[in-house]
């Protein structure tokens, strides 16, 4: 019974009137026109097994290329026998995050701070080496691993700085407010590509002579500063959503500015701004691709560089399809999560 009614519902939706029927046919034709060649290319006519370009049938996608280059897409030029270090760093990071998420409420804060202090230096040590691990230059890093590295470490700069400037923008001290507004509007007003150029050119210039700064670190710092400005605006939304009475009540109880901020204001404001902050994190992941302009090869950069391989000429579509799909999956999952948080927050408020 249910089946029949849903069927008739679909008939009503797609062929209810002559006009909707016509529209459905036109749209269906358009979809078929795009989808049929796409499916034929990517699935039916595609070659999956083999080792060289010669194994690939013409006219279809050559997924052999992705298979042969999979290691590079993931790790860049990171030495093959050392790739376990990247995997280990990734697993540690994942375990750290999960342990904080699933920890009992009273331990969560302390555990979170501990992870925040321990994991970043541990990650850098694992990836770059030193202390009995082989030293691996950042020039050899690349691929998806580098995309994630830049996103995570840039947000480690961006989130604290963003919270600080969001508070500064709401401050009643006029000078602090002015400094924050100038900082935020400056970084929001300039293109990120220009900031990456700027960081790679100016950072070595303004530091005392002799201090060399790694070119990947420059890109991470540059991105961190821009995203901090966008994060600050995301946090400001949360701060403004809080009723004024919250701070007034906290002050009336005798809490100092920082105590009131840390115990009353931020826990509530950050919860409200978490979806907006997640959206900024998505934007950050998308913008890490720009490190290409200072010849750091993240996932998209590796895909682009692989097109120059004389053994694999004409693999443009395969490389773009694969790297694009990975970006899409990551960003889509995050945006769904952000939307979920938003509806969750809305439900709690009502």
């Amino acid at each position: 019974m249910n089946r029949v009614s849903s069927l008739s519902l679909w008939r009503e939706r797609l062929f209810g009137t002559p006009f909707t029927g016509f529209l459905t046919l036109v749209m269906a034709f358009g979809i078929a026109w795009v989808a049929v060649p796409l499916i034929r290319w990517s699935l039916i006519d595609a070659t999956w097994a083999g080792t060289t370009r010669a194994d690939c049938a013409p006219g279809g996608a050559c997924w052999v290329f992705i298979r042969a280059r999979f290691g590079q897409f993931m790790y860049g030029l990171y030495p093959v026998d050392q790739r376990w270090r990247v995997d280990l760093a990734g697993i540690l990071f994942l375990l750290g995050t999960l342990s904080v998420v699933f920890a009992p409420q009273r331990l969560r804060l302390r555990l979170g701070v501990a992870m925040l202090v321990l994991l970043p230096p541990l990650g850098i040590w694992l990836l770059s080496g030193g202390l009995s691990l082989r030293y691996i230059e950042t020039r050899e890093w690349g691929g998806l691993m580098l995309t994630l590295f830049i996103s995570i470490y840039a947000s480690l700069i961006a989130i604290p700085l963003g919270i600080l400037f969001a508070l500064g923008r709401q401050s009643e001290l006029r000078v602090i407010r002015l400094i924050s507004v100038v900082f935020i509007e400056f970084w929001r007003g300039v293109p990120i590509i220009a900031v990456i150029f700027l960081a790679s050119l100016l950072l070595p210039l303004i530091l005392p002579g002799g201090i060399g700064i790694d070119r990947l670190a420059r890109a991470v710092i540059g991105l961190g500063f821009v995203i901090a400005a966008y994060m600050a605006e995301a946090v400001r939304g949360g701060l403004q959503a809080l009723p004024k009475g919250q701070r007034e009540a906290a002050t009336a109880l005798g809490l100092t500015y920082w105590k009131a901020t840390g115990l009353i204001i931020l826990p509530q404001a950050l919860r409200i701004s978490l979806p907006a902050m997640t959206n900024e994190f998505i934007a950050l992941i998308k913008n890490t691709t720009l490190v290409l302009v200072v010849s750091i090869l993240d996932l998209l950069g590796i895909a682009q560089a692989s097109l120059a391989d004389p053994n694999w000429v004409g693999m443009n579509m395969e490389a773009y399809a694969f790297s694009g799909a990975i970006y899409w999956l990551i960003c889509f999952a995050l945006s769904r999560w952000s939307r979920h948080l938003e509806t969750l927050g809305r439900r709690q408020n009502h």
């Binding site: 939706r13 749209m27 006029r174 007003g189 530091l207 290409l292």
Partner: protein, 387 residues
């Protein structure tokens, strides 16, 4: 507590101490950076000052709107970059707005399949980096277009191939200039008439046939003027000679790829803004207007659109500024915009990083501030008047 120290507990005094400390910290940091920079620059033998702007540039640019040649100075190179940035930004904004509105309205369509396709497009585009689209259009699509000999002809006057787009160029612009003047005059006339009609309606309640006047002044007269001007002008139509097209104006493939990427990407974001704006108008508004006897067209133009526009304007402005900033993605495919020409080529030639970076960032900041100022004024004007 010592009486002499008790002023520390005065909130006003403390506030001043904090603010002075913050300023002192910033000034100290700046002095530290500037001293390091000047030391490092002396060591590396880099000059400072803006004198380099008047040196001959010697940089060849494949896409020039300003009449610049290699023997001009670096300052004119800067303006070439600014002009190229503005060109792709303005055209990108217009096309992205059109596509974005179409997709946004399609998303709201009551026809399920139309809405689903629009939704799929939006979800696809928003979750992929813009640089991906730039590289894809440049290396994936434009590079895969046929060679000039097998060009895709557009109405027999423009030709699309893997070397870009060749379009006809007028021999003289006199007639076109007159046409532009006529278009402008008739638009201004429409603006004046609509103001007059509104005043009259407020006074007497009489409607003026604004729609007919609008079609005439906004569409018909300008179309006639442009048609007359294009027919009266001799056009230099590109012709295939040997392996490439001669004559006309060659739009480089980098421009086509960057524009296509900006439009397809930004349209996804504008579509969401349009959808959100129209959905933000409560259904009761439409129903109430209908109950008052307004026809559907008037409901849309008098009730829904003015209210939706108020919600849409701030995020839309943000997107337009994003197009301006994102036009710098052209640097990745060597489109000669201000970042790649000035921050790239000119900086490599002169080494004067600080001056060049400051000038380039100033372009974006000045335009951004001007647009936000304009939009704030506009928002204040259309803001809801509550009494």
């Amino acid at each position: 507590m010592n009486k002499a120290l008790s002023f520390i507990n005065d909130k006003r005094v403390r506030d001043w101490i904090y603010q002075i400390a913050a300023v002192a910290f910033l000034v100290g940091l700046t002095i530290f950076f500037v001293r390091n920079a000047s030391e490092n620059m002396v060591k590396a033998g880099i000059a400072s000052g803006f004198g380099f702007l008047w040196r001959t540039s010697g940089i060849e640019v494949p896409f020039v709107l300003t009449g610049y040649t290699q023997s001009d100075n670096i300052f004119s190179l800067f303006w070439v970059g600014v002009a190229n940035t503005m060109l792709v930004t303005v055209i990108g904004i217009v096309l992205a707005t059109l596509l974005g509105f179409v997709i946004g309205i399609a998303r709201l369509s009551s026809h399920w399949l139309t809405s689903a396709i629009a939704g799929a497009y939006i979800e696809f585009v928003r979750n992929i980096p813009l640089l991906f689209f730039v590289l894809f259009w440049y290396f994936g699509v434009i590079a895969a277009l046929p060679a000039p000999r097998q060009s895709i002809g557009l109405f027999g006057v423009a030709f699309l191939n893997n070397r870009g787009l060749t379009i006809p160029l007028p021999d003289s612009v006199d007639n076109l200039r007159w046409a532009a003047l006529i278009v402008l005059a008739s638009w201004v006339a429409y603006g004046l008439i609509s103001v007059w009609a509104r005043r009259r309606k407020e006074r007497t309640g009489q409607d003026a046939p604004l729609l007919a006047i609008g079609i005439g002044l906004i569409l018909v007269i300008p179309a006639l003027a442009i048609a007359w001007a294009s027919l009266a002008t001799r056009w230099d139509v590109p012709v295939l000679r040997g392996f490439n097209y001669r004559g006309g104006f060659a739009v480089i493939p980098e421009f086509v790829a960057l524009l296509a990427a900006l439009v397809t990407y930004t349209a996804g974001f504008i579509a969401e803004i349009v959808r959100g704006g129209i959905e933000s108008v409560p259904k009761g508004q439409t129903e109430a207007a209908g109950a008052l006897g307004l026809r559907p067209g008037r409901i849309l133009s008098l009730v829904v659109i003015p209210q939706a526009l108020r919600v849409m304007m701030p995020p839309l402005t943000n997107q337009y500024l994003n197009v301006l900033k994102n036009s710098s993605f052209g640097a990745a495919i060597a489109y000669p915009d201000v970042v790649s020409l000035f921050m790239g080529s000119a900086l490599n030639n002169t080494g004067q990083a600080i001056e060049i970076i400051a000038m380039t960032l100033a372009v974006y900041l000045v335009i951004g501030l001007a647009v936000s100022g304009l939009m704030n004024w506009y928002n204040a004007r259309i803001a809801l008047v509550t009494r």
